[in-house]
């Protein structure tokens, strides 16, 4: 048992590091690791992973919120869609066969990966585009924001675009969150960055804040049903806490282009895994 706890702490450290750097919860790594490598029951693994997602999110979000990287208004706006999507996820999971869902999301995720590699994000891209008229919804909700980038010591004001499309994609992220017990950051980050033109670091920070809120709602249900193993959860919390401390330091110092490149590699791998699962290859690794 001690070996299992130590291995889990190391895995949670790596998930926390990757999660805080890429704006994801890390559940996408933790669940397969716990079920396949540690032979932990899937329901216990999902419950423990949700605690890990919360630990990663809270650890990272605290730093990003303090440094004003997180766009709180945008997070609250999109969180409404994600929560509705998570509720719909249960219904969709019953009505639509998983094969179509995985195939669709596999293609979408691969497209997002290609877009992130193809379109570079420079300081000029991040700068305020004063010529365009702000969308009424963006203006009314005051979604556009400003952040300080340590990469080039610049202060960037950015305008949020396509709020409707971002809302829709966030709902889709919620559907996946409800289906798989993951945070859905792998959908939210590209949605904010590509669709809504939110700078990469701000998208990562905002996603990190959101996934914790989504996961906390589900985690309490699992906790009340006695599915959370406190030993496993404790190791995940300690491991993720250490990992996020390192990940947040790395992100604020990193070049946005590098973060985008690493994220696109992660997305490409995930897209292939989803498509493979839909086509019945490799026995389903997700």
């Amino acid at each position: 048992m001690v070996e299992v706890l130590l291995l889990l702490a190391v895995a949670a450290f790596l998930a926390g590091l990757a999660g805080s750097y890429l704006g994801i919860g890390g559940g996408i790594f933790l669940i397969p690791f716990m079920t396949l490598a540690l032979q932990i029951d899937i329901k216990v693994a999902i419950a423990t992973s949700l605690i890990g997602v919360i630990a990663t999110s809270s650890g990272a979000a605290s730093v990003y919120v303090r440094d004003h990287l997180t766009n709180l208004r945008l997070a609250m706006f999109l969180e409404v869609a994600t929560t509705l999507g998570a509720i719909a996820g249960a219904v969709v999971g019953i009505l639509v066969p998983n094969v179509y869902l995985f195939l669709t999301f596999g293609v979408v995720v691969l497209y997002a990966a290609a877009s992130m590699v193809r379109v570079a994000e420079t300081a000029k891209d991040r700068a305020y585009r004063g010529g365009d008229e702000e969308r009424p919804l963006v203006k009314r909700l005051n979604l556009s924001s400003v952040y300080f980038d340590q990469e080039d010591q610049g202060v960037y004001r950015y305008r949020v675009e396509r709020p409707g499309a971002g809302f829709g994609v966030s709902a889709a992220a919620g559907v996946f969150s409800g289906l798989l017990g993951v945070g859905g950051g792998f959908i939210k980050v590209p949605a904010m960055n590509i669709l809504m033109r939110v700078p990469m670091k701000a998208a990562v920070a905002t996603s990190n804040f959101m996934i914790g809120v989504t996961a906390a709602a589900s985690a309490f249900i699992y906790y009340s049903q006695g599915l959370v193993n406190p030993q496993l959860a404790a190791m995940v919390i300690v491991g993720a806490f250490t990992g996020t401390n390192l990940g947040t330091r790395l992100l604020v110092r990193s070049k946005a282009a590098n973060v985008r490149f690493l994220f696109s590699i992660f997305l490409a791998g995930l897209g292939i895994a989803m498509a493979a699962r839909a086509l019945g290859l490799f026995g389903g690794v997700l």
Binding site: I54, S62, H68, A217, P230, A234
Partner: protein, 99 residues
């Protein structure tokens, strides 16, 4: 007498400055959320470590199931590792919801 008045003025200035600092701090939503999240992490990790130390000292087995919140009080009063590990996990998840 002048010294006493200067002293009083200095205290008044300090109180006013402290009040301004507290108001600014509370008004700054970002800092408030930061303190809630960071505080939650520290308190949670402290409870978890305490739970593990209790298990080592008392020889109680570590729990493998979560305890319903209504039964948690008795476990905490009894200083069981299960109570403190569960409390640590609960504090962790509830902090995210509060923020």
């Amino acid at each position: 007498m002048i010294t006493a008045r200067a002293g009083l003025r200095l205290v008044q200035h300090r109180i006013a400055a402290l009040r301004r600092a507290v108001l600014t701090e509370v008004e700054d939503l970002n800092r408030l959320i930061y303190h809630i999240l960071r505080g939650g992490v520290i308190v949670s990790v402290a409870f978890l470590l305490f739970g593990f130390i209790l298990a080592g000292v008392t020889g109680h087995p570590l729990p493998d199931k979560s305890i319903p919140p209504r039964l948690l009080g008795a476990e905490l009063i009894g200083f069981t590792p299960a109570g403190y590990l569960n409390l640590g996990v609960l504090v962790r998840s509830e902090t995210a919801r509060t923020s």
